[in-house]
Symmetry: C2
Subunit: 415 residues, 2 copies
């Protein structure tokens, strides 16, 4: 394993010995104290053999144990990661791209990329002997926590706003989580989860609270690297809500460079909905040399997984994306809906709206000229369309019923 | 690849040269003419090296190309198969079992085991140069066909009863399939698809129509075999609707024995809902030496994927299960709902009701003594709970909302 050398606060830069702090920086507090795990990349560079990833015959993110902060033996059996990467040569050619890949993270155990962060977080909880977890979320992170806790036999408490959608509640309750529907907003549920974690000594998996989450999230990039033999794409696009996923993807690509396996990281673009673009705004401020941390904004989009007004990992996302010379792009709900249809029709990958947003972002960056013709691009599809079937039905015309006769079929077929 | 030596009719025994017939036996017709693919197992036995499966580095069902009827090059990129097998030692011990494994086929591209049969069927369509597919189904097989056709760039037509649930329509329409909602029952939709396949020369992926479907389905058993180093379980349980999946699982295990890789196949049990038990009844008739083929029965169960009154692959299922010295077991809807909760809570695998039915079947066979203590058992979970979230919510109590205060949390936690 990678043996972290420190947990460093992203805001004040203070470093802590690994595992001596669980969550945010005690000095900076809960709002801006996200911790980053530091490794000795020079030492790793000397001893890392890229063939080791495959040689371990682990078909999960634990194949990257040399770049993870703890040993695979603490992981639960659920197979997070090692999801498929699909090449799309026909679509690439039509778009004028050199190559286009779709990284299908809907194939994770609970059908979203959040299982990566959860897998590493739960392993840490087991290593640390923590007996219970907590997560605040309306969606995929909560479900993922509940599923992995079920597999680990560890109790968990989930804080969701009272208005959480039934389908997501179904998955949570099926996994036996203790669900607290909170009378209030997502922000109130989040704040309550932080307080409860403190009070009951629950290990907190919420985005922005736990340095392990990004360590798991980064493995999506490591997998793309391994599958492409470290000949990395020019651009990588991924949806951004709280910011922990895009930060992880950027970190993963950078690590491949830092340990000497790849020459250059892709420029990573976070894709946000135009109506929920707090990190994109923070990134613009960062570019102007202003303070990054955003005030809470309104958040309105059909893409519920990135409907975040007060992103909990904004600073990390901004810094990580900037390090790759990437950026942020916003897309409208209409573009997201159209992208979802097009992605499913052209690749066979059925994404929830936020999972399709990177395809919308790609089209926009191509139009703007930010992504030049001939580029090699990877899109991260972060959640399954089955998480929000009503979202997929938007903008689709229901076909009319026909009588059970061949003549009726012929009329449709032959026009 | 396995090079089939013949396609044989399961009803009349007539053999055809491979690929000279597409679908059912021309002599027996559409009702009872299911074709089975025959291989020269003695020849395979001599030349098959079990290490070849892993050596090919294919992380899909195409790793079993030596036992498949056509070359992997015809497959589409979507990664069907190579799904996780989870060992559940704690649950096994509680149930008095020697071992318990869960084969999680919800990790397939469209979230059900149907992707296996589809992957091989679409590859065959490409090899044969067939330009369009058709599938009749209300659910997982249709979605799977639509997704793989999208990835292949092949048009497909889907016949569903008009009353098909919206979530399943969402996935179908997202993939760009031509959907024919038929005014009538599933049986009428099925019959119409058969006629349309004939008329428009569409390649038919419907269960019971195409010998390729079972060739794909059998790979679930091959994977279990490979992961357990061919030390096969004593019992394998899988839900049965049309019968094509349980038949495939039984065939796969038998093939491991026939090619000399395993000593003995598990006894395969098909699990049906008590209200939709046509194959179980057919199996009972078979045991009494009576004709197998069932008359259509009523079909009533919450497990919509096995809500089949007139199973299209009943004969194949009965013969294949009998060959393993297995059988059929029926479970009530109450048992299925309870099994779904228990499975999710104990393993982290969220199954649709039919996917949880094997766990219910296991409990029943344990109670009956059919499965003795100390047995080694594998359960096939064939479809994701996200396909039917309302099904998962049955029998679950919704937690009450709390005000956003620590006191309210403490009251729940401390009781």
């Amino acid at each position: 394993m990678g043996e972290p050398i420190a947990f460093r606060c992203l805001t004040c830069g203070r470093e802590y010995a690994p595992w001596t702090v669980d969550h945010v920086c005690p000095r900076c507090g809960a709002v801006a104290g996200a911790l980053d795990v530091l490794y000795d990349y020079r030492a790793l560079r000397r001893r890392l053999d890229p063939r080791a990833f495959a040689a371990g015959r682990r078909f999960s993110l634990w194949r990257y144990e040399p770049l993870l902060p703890l040993a695979a033996e603490y992981g639960v059996p659920l197979r997070a990661g090692w999801t498929p990467l699909y090449a799309c040569p026909t679509l690439a050619a039509e778009l004028g791209l050199g190559s286009l890949w779709v990284k299908d993270d809907t194939a994770n155990p609970t059908a979203s990329c959040k299982d990566r962060g959860t897998a590493v977080t739960i392993a840490a909880a087991r290593m640390l002997g923590r007996g219970a977890l907590v997560c605040a979320s309306t969606g995929n992170a909560a479900t993922s926590t509940a599923g992995f806790c079920a597999a680990a036999g560890i109790p968990c408490s989930i804080f969701v706003p009272q208005a959480a959608p039934r389908a997501k509640l179904a998955q949570l309750l099926a996994f036996g989580a203790t669900v607290f529907p909170v009378e209030g907003t997502y922000d109130e549920a989040y704040g309550l989860a932080v307080q409860a974690a403190d009070r009951f000594r629950w290990y907190n998996r919420s985005d922005g609270q736990n340095p392990m989450v990004v360590e798991g999230n980064k493995t999506g990039a490591l997998e793309v690297g391994e599958e492409l033999h470290c000949d990395l794409p020019d651009f990588a696009l991924v949806a951004a809500g709280d910011g922990a996923v895009v930060a992880g993807i950027a970190k993963g690509f950078q690590e491949l460079v830092k340990v000497g396996l790849a020459e250059r990281a892709p420029r990573v673009y976070g894709v946000q909905a135009a109506g929920a673009a707090a990190i994109a705004h923070a990134f613009a401020r960062y570019r102007e040399g202003k303070p990054v941390l955003p005030a809470a904004e309104g958040a309105e989009t059909i893409a519920d997984s990135i409907r975040v007004g007060n992103p909990q990992d904004a600073l990390r996302a901004v810094l990580a994306v900037a390090e790759t010379d990437g950026g942020f792009v916003t897309v409208t709900d209409e573009e997201i809906v159209a992208a979802g249809q097009e992605l499913a029709r052209r690749t066979g990958v059925f994404a929830e709206p936020s999972g399709a947003a990177p395809y919308a972002g790609l089209l926009r960056l191509l139009r703007e000229g930010t992504i030049p013709p001939g580029s090699r691009v990877v899109l991260f599809v972060t959640g399954s369309g089955l998480k929000d079937p009503e979202g997929a039905l938007r903008g689709v015309e229901m076909p009319r019923a026909i009588p059970p006769t061949l003549a009726a079929v012929a009329k449709v077929v032959e026009g």
